[in-house]
């Protein structure tokens, strides 16, 4: 598995660029790193709000929230989430938040 380095932090990632150890290795440098690969020019409070919501839900429930629950807790409609994270809530936001890779029939 590839290991990558950014601003002095090292991260173990899979081939899709998801953190292998999840939130354990997650830090601000990771967010900064993902920002560039997921088409996000500037990190705003809205991005942070989505990331916080995902992490909080994951810590509590052990799974990523369904899309409409994410919309409800953040108050952002799906359209806004795609404006913030062009790859969408799965590949974009979950990756940046350090959640495990979405699985199933995708």
């Amino acid at each position: 598995m590839p290991t990558l380095e950014h601003n002095g932090s090292t991260f173990q990632v899979d081939e899709d660029g998801f953190l292998l150890k999840g939130m354990e290795e997650w830090n601000d440098n990771w967010v900064d790193y993902v920002k560039s690969s997921e088409g996000i020019s500037e990190l705003t409070d809205e991005h942070t709000k989505v990331i916080d919501a995902l992490q909080e839900y994951y810590k509590k429930n052990g799974i990523a929230p369904m899309v409409r629950i994410l919309s409800k807790t953040t108050g952002f409609p799906l359209k806004r989430i795609y404006e913030l994270f062009p790859s969408g809530p799965g590949k974009g936001a979950c990756k940046m938040a350090g959640l495990p890779k979405p699985t199933g029939c995708v």
Binding site: E15, R68, Y82, G88, P89, K101
Partner: protein, 426 residues
């Protein structure tokens, strides 16, 4: 990327059916990574296990689906398939093409991918098999800018809708399946490209109950054409069939001698409701008892035609076995007008009512058919604003566990046990 020894796959080059191995080898002359496809498949034949890793999340910016990521678990051995992502490309309704368009598509695909395809995926998409992550955005750019073509759907969203070829070349199609499929695909682009549902959701459109896209088995909303008035009978043509001048079933059984056409045996006696009979050399149909099964029309296409008051039956909830068992779609609306004149208004309203409800109450990874099972058909009907009718069931329930609503019972559910005890001492 070198050739690999493929003794097991080579056996699949013999025999009369077009060999995918031969095709792959031919493509490998042009695209050497195809040797590695053959190599890895050969290894899987030997090991009897897949050599693709679990899952894969790739895509293009703006969309949450459309591309299925795939990585080899033996990338050192087969570097040509280290990344082997599948791209779903939206197909035209009924899959009619011009060679010009296909050539252009293949030029784009050979530039960005392996050149291998699947024409088509079961849901209907054009499937481009095998490319690397870094090619995805350039491929998408070329598809949209040069070919004016979009990706299909994948993930928990509306998947690419599909239809039977309908009125383009079938005399039985009761509505314009192509127009309907195309219009709804355009209307719901957002739902196709950005997953927002509890799970996947599919539409399929068939022109008649022969159901040539298998809508009843393979779509969450199946729109199946039918008619309300009488079957149109051309008695002169019936006589031609009886005389043996027209082949039955359009000659579909001509490969074997089944004897002379016998209208009594092959049509009248096979009618499931027994609503047909011969009278004075003429075929009669009691249309009130006809369930529009299509059999008589299928046997005598030149003599019998569907009626002219046409529309569609809408069934909901088909799915494959996971999790709660396989389901066919169940009838919800026996007859709906399906017309481009009102922009398919009635159907659109129906679909959006399902979504509004299912997106709210559907559990994670629960198909709408399972949500219906969980809440029960009566609840689903009341949510949809559809009055229950006998046609909603094949047979009435046999168990007596019947729920009543408070307001349906005189006196309601609030009872006082003290009052009961005054009449029935403990």
């Amino acid at each position: 990327m070198a050739k690999h020894e493929t003794p097991l796959l080579d056996q699949l080059e013999s025999g009369p059916w077009p060999s995918f191995v031969t095709d792959l080898k031919r493509q490998a002359e042009k695209k050497p990574e195809c040797w590695d496809i053959l190599g890895q498949v050969e290894l899987s034949y030997k090991d009897r296990i897949t050599h693709w890793k679990h899952g894969g999340i790739v895509g293009v910016f703006g969309y949450g689906g459309g591309i299925v990521g795939r990585y080899s678990d033996v990338p050192k051995q087969f570097p040509g398939v280290e990344h082997f992502h599948t791209v779903r490309v939206a197909q035209p309704a009924s899959k009619y093409y011009s060679t010009k368009h296909l050539r252009h598509l293949m030029e784009i695909w050979e530039k960005h991918g392996s050149g291998m395809t699947n024409f088509h995926g079961s849901t209907g998409d054009i499937i481009l098999l095998g490319t690397r992550t870094e090619h995805l955005e350039p491929l998408f750019w070329d598809l949209t800018h040069d070919l004016n073509q979009d990706l299909g759907g994948s993930g928990s969203n509306l998947r690419t809708p599909a239809n039977c070829l309908g009125q383009s070349r079938c005399e039985w199609s009761c509505y314009d399946t192509e127009e309907c499929c195309h219009q709804l695909t355009i209307k719901y682009q957002d739902e196709i490209h950005r997953p927002a549902f509890p799970y996947k959701f599919k539409f399929k459109f068939s022109g008649c109950p022969n159901d040539c896209v298998a809508a009843i088995a393979r779509s969450d909303v199946a729109v199946i054409g039918t008619w309300k008035d009488n079957i149109r009978i051309d008695q002169a043509a019936v006589k031609e069939y009886i005389a043996g001048n027209y082949p039955s079933n359009g000659g579909a059984h001509s490969g074997r001698d089944w004897g002379k056409f016998d209208i009594q045996k092959e049509v009248v006696d096979l009618c499931p409701t027994k609503c047909m009979w011969m009278e004075g050399g003429e075929l009669k149909i009691d249309d009130k008892e006809c369930t529009r099964c299509m059999h008589c029309i299928n046997v005598m296409p030149r003599a019998l035609r569907p009626g002219v008051d046409t529309g569609a039956t809408v069934c909901v909830g088909a799915k494959a076995p996971i999790l709660d068992g396989a389901q066919f779609a169940t009838l919800i609306v026996p007859f709906m007008k399906i017309s481009a004149d009102n922009e398919f208004e009635e159907l659109i309203e129906f679909i959006e009512k399902i979504w509004d409800w299912w997106m709210e109450v559907g559990k994670n990874r629960e198909r709408v058919g399972e949500t219906m099972q969980r809440v029960g058909l009566p609840t689903f009907l009341s949510i949809m604003g559809v009055d229950p009718i006998p046609q909603h069931v094949k047979e009435p329930r046999s168990n007596p566990y019947v729920f009543w609503k408070d307001e349906e019972v005189p006196g309601g559910f609030e009872r006082d046990v003290e009052e009961f005890r005054r009449r029935h001492a403990a």
